[in-house]
Amino acid sequence: MTATEPRVEQPAAPQGHLLELENVNAYYGNIRALRGVSLYVDKGEVVTLIGSNGAGKSTTLRTISGVLKPRTGQVRLDGLRIDALPAHEIVKLGVAQAPEGRRIFSRMSVYENLLMGAFSRRGEKLDDDIARVFDLFPRLLERRTQQAGTMSGGEQQMLAMGRALMARPSILLLDEPSMGLSPILTEQIFDIITEINGQGTTVLLVEQNALMALNVAHRGYVLQTGKIILTDTAANLAANEQVRQAYLGEI
């Protein structure tokens, strides 16, 4: 299995980070969900954000994609502040997301879902992108005209990722892609994440399945109750005693 071989080489970061969060505090009403989160993702990397339920992983992604506005702190994409921009503007700048729980447009066909993914790219030719998605996910080609909501969970996850790729993102945010999938399917999905990254897309991956996530990632952050408590290369995190106990199911 080539996809899950840990990578040791890390591409040198060019000037500045592709995505950077600096001291971000975000709230749901009065509940403080993120406490001074700072992290960065460099071009070409797969970075994973691991942590238990309610640690604030999805909230971090929602803050990046603009669905949730941080109360204080900055989110920067290529040095440009995006934390005040509306969600649809952030998509245009190259941040696409496959949200938690898939959330495909279940009453549209697979093909229509993919078209919606490219909504921000008005008037561009999409044939190449569609071909690329079908190449990555041959299952979707078979199901092209099928109503998306009637597909299996794994196929829906593929569609959610394919839809996000249609925006030709410079960074792809994946929220729990393994949720509710069988181990075999999970492995497939992670292989594809590696492949997508190999084609040049930067990935920020949020996962509860820390073992798999650390296998495909270059670096990782550990989030606990809204705070980053640990960051290191994926290999080091996977070897870290604390991480092993808390997230890798070892006693």
Binding site: P86, A87, V91, P99, R103, F105, R107, M108, M116, F119
Partner: protein, 580 residues
């Protein structure tokens, strides 16, 4: 089917029979039976009054003949289908007979004003007391056998048969309309042959039923082959047929007002206004999924803007021509859509519905208010709204005003269809399904919501402009909550997101009540009943859009599949999503 299920099936039939009794007695007690009695369906044999009560019993008996889908047991043996139908219908009829006995024994009419002798006579099939009540039992038996028999018929025969019976009722109810048309065509002989004293004659009824039955049978037996043949035709030939049908349709629409005369043109004009509003609200509710219960606000704004701009006695006193005023009204409409839309954009679902409901009321009360009296004239409204001017045509005549309304309806339908299939339509579609994800795929939710609101407002305001012109004046009391409810109901009835649905819905909910003046008193009751029945039996509407059909049926399909896989009967019917 085992004994337990069989017992359950018969108990359900008995329950439905009681429900039939309650329904029939209810329509009698609220006075429908007596009020509808003068209207003949088949003159000399059947009146609408008795038919209403009888239909309630028959429909419940027919329902009793089939176990609900969710029991997962398929059709019961034939004798039990008949048995359940007879049981339900006899219980239903016996209950009515018991009611007649009670009505005779007790002074019910002291409390229930409609429980008089006349009602008893109608319910007793026109016979004297004991005979009538006994005859009801016989009628119940006949109904039960008919209901069971109908269920046992193969669907390809059942459909046309039901269609034939419904057609007789409809053609009979359309009598005022049909008689005028035939009169205009100089066909008094035909009119006299088919219609007599407001209902169909016996030979007329037989011919109508026979014709519909023949067409229905031809369609269900040979229709597939014909459709295949059409599908196999070369493209240009098929195109030719389409164009021919289109031309026939256009010619029909153009000559219609000349055929139907002044009163019916007026009715069709009103229907046209509601089609326009339906198209507009359909954009807001059907496409964008924003439940707006205050749509009357735009109707009012359009009507008052037109009146103020065109009436010489308004505060402005400009007396503009209608054609000059209408673009200004459309502009005002779009702006008002933005203004009303902007504050409610953050709200979703139920909250949006409540707030828009409030806005509709606010607009009406503002129109009545002292503050705006110099502009709106308060309760006195604005008078002397002139009709449009074009050549020497007198647009005060409903037959002539029909044409500009038709033009705007056609234009509106064209705009609505184009929008549905455009990038904008896709964005609305995505927004309706999942707002957050739609935003995350790059859709500017705010703009698309405002666009939907504004476009809806333009449609509503054009309808309002025509209302002002049609009435020649405008008053606040024309513009109440009922308008919003009617427009929403016709969309739901026709099928959300469906344009043919809007047109059919408008004719059914706005056109029919105009023809059936007896109904006026019970209009809201009938609306309510129609909507409940639609939601239960055909939630996707009469002519659903393909998209909606999928949305509303998918849950049922899921549940059925699950039930079949696990062999567990699902006790509850599929739960539908509460509104868009």
């Amino acid at each position: 089917m085992n004994d337990t299920m069989l017992g359950r099936f018969y108990r359900r039939a008995a329950g439905l029979g009681l429900l039939g009794t309650l329904g029939a007695v209810y329509v009698a007690l609220i006075g429908i039976v007596e009020r509808f009695e003068p209207r003949n369906i088949v003159t000399g044999y059947l009146t609408l009054g008795l038919l209403t009560a009888a239909l309630v019993v028959f429909v419940t008996a027919y329902r009793a003949t089939e176990p609900p889908h969710s029991w997962g047991i398929g059709p019961p043996p034939r004798q039990h289908v008949l048995g359940a139908g007879v049981l339900a219908a006899v219980i239903g009829a016996a209950g009515v007979a018991l009611f007649l006995v009670l009505n005779r024994a007790l002074p019910l009419d002291a409390v229930l004003v409609n429980a008089n002798d006349r009602m008893s006579e109608i319910l007793g099939l026109g016979l004297e007391f004991p005979a009538g009540a006994l005859a009801l039992l016989g009628a119940g038996l006949a109904f039960g056998v008919a209901a069971g028999g109908l269920r046992l018929l193969a669907p390809r025969f059942r459909g046309p048969l039901i269609a034939a019976v419904v057609a007789v009722m409809l053609v009979s109810l359309m009598e005022p309309f049909m008689r005028v048309v035939l009169l205009q065509l100089g066909q008094n002989a035909i009119s006299g042959f088919f219609y007599q004293s407001g209902g169909l004659t016996v030979p007329g009824a037989i011919i109508v039923a026979g014709a519909v039955l023949a067409i229905g049978l031809a369609n269900s037996l040979r229709g597939e082959a014909v459709r295949e043949r059409v599908a196999e035709m070369p493209a240009d030939q098929r195109r030719g047929i389409q164009i021919a049908l289109f031309v026939v349709g256009i010619v029909f629409l153009l000559v219609l007002p000349q055929l139907i005369g002044s009163f019916l043109s007026e009715v069709v004009g009103t229907v046209g206004l509601y089609i326009l509003m339906g198209l507009g609200l359909n954009i807001v509710v059907g496409y964008a999924g924003l439940l707006d219960l205050g749509y009357v606000a735009f109707f009012a704004i359009g009507a008052y803007a037109t009146a103020i701009l065109t009436s010489p006695v308004s505060v402005l006193g400009w007396g503009l021509s209608f054609w000059v005023a209408i673009p200004i009204v459309m502009l005002i409409a779009a702006l008002s859509g933005l203004i009303i839309g902007a504050p409610v954009l953050r709200l979703r679902g139920d909250y949006l519905a409540i707030v828009t409901l409030g806005i509709g009321e606010i607009v009406r009360i503002l129109l009545l208010s002292d503050a705006l009296r110099p502009w709106t004239g308060g309760a006195q409204g604005i008078l002397q709204v002139p009709p449009p001017e074009f050549a020497d045509i007198d647009f005060f005549q409903p037959q002539n005003l029909y044409y500009p309304i038709l033009a705007f309806v056609v234009l509106g339908a064209f705009v609505a269809i184009s929008l549905a299939n455009s990038r904008v339509g896709r964005a609305w579609n995505a927004m309706r399904e999942d707002e957050d994800v739609a935003a995350a795929t790059g859709i500017n939710i705010t703009n698309y919501k405002l666009l939907a609101f504004s476009l809806g407002a333009v449609f509503g305001c054009i309808a309002g402009a025509f209302l002002a012109v049609k009435l020649g004046s405008i008053f606040p009391h024309n513009l109440n909550l009922l308008v919003s409810i009617t427009v929403l109901s016709l969309i739901i009835l026709g099928g959300m997101g469906s344009i043919p649905g809007v047109i059919v819905g408008a004719f059914v909910l706005v056109g029919l009540p105009e023809l059936l003046r007896e109904f006026a008193e019970y209009r809201l009751l009938i609306y309510g009943a129609v909507l409940i029945v639609m939601m239960l039996w055909r939630p996707e509407g009469l002519i659903p859009s393909a998209q909606r059909k999928r949305e509303l049926r998918e849950h049922e399909d899921d549940e059925d599949q699950w039930a079949h896989q696990t062999g567990v009967p699902t006790a509850m019917p599929a739960v539908e999503r509460p509104g868009p």
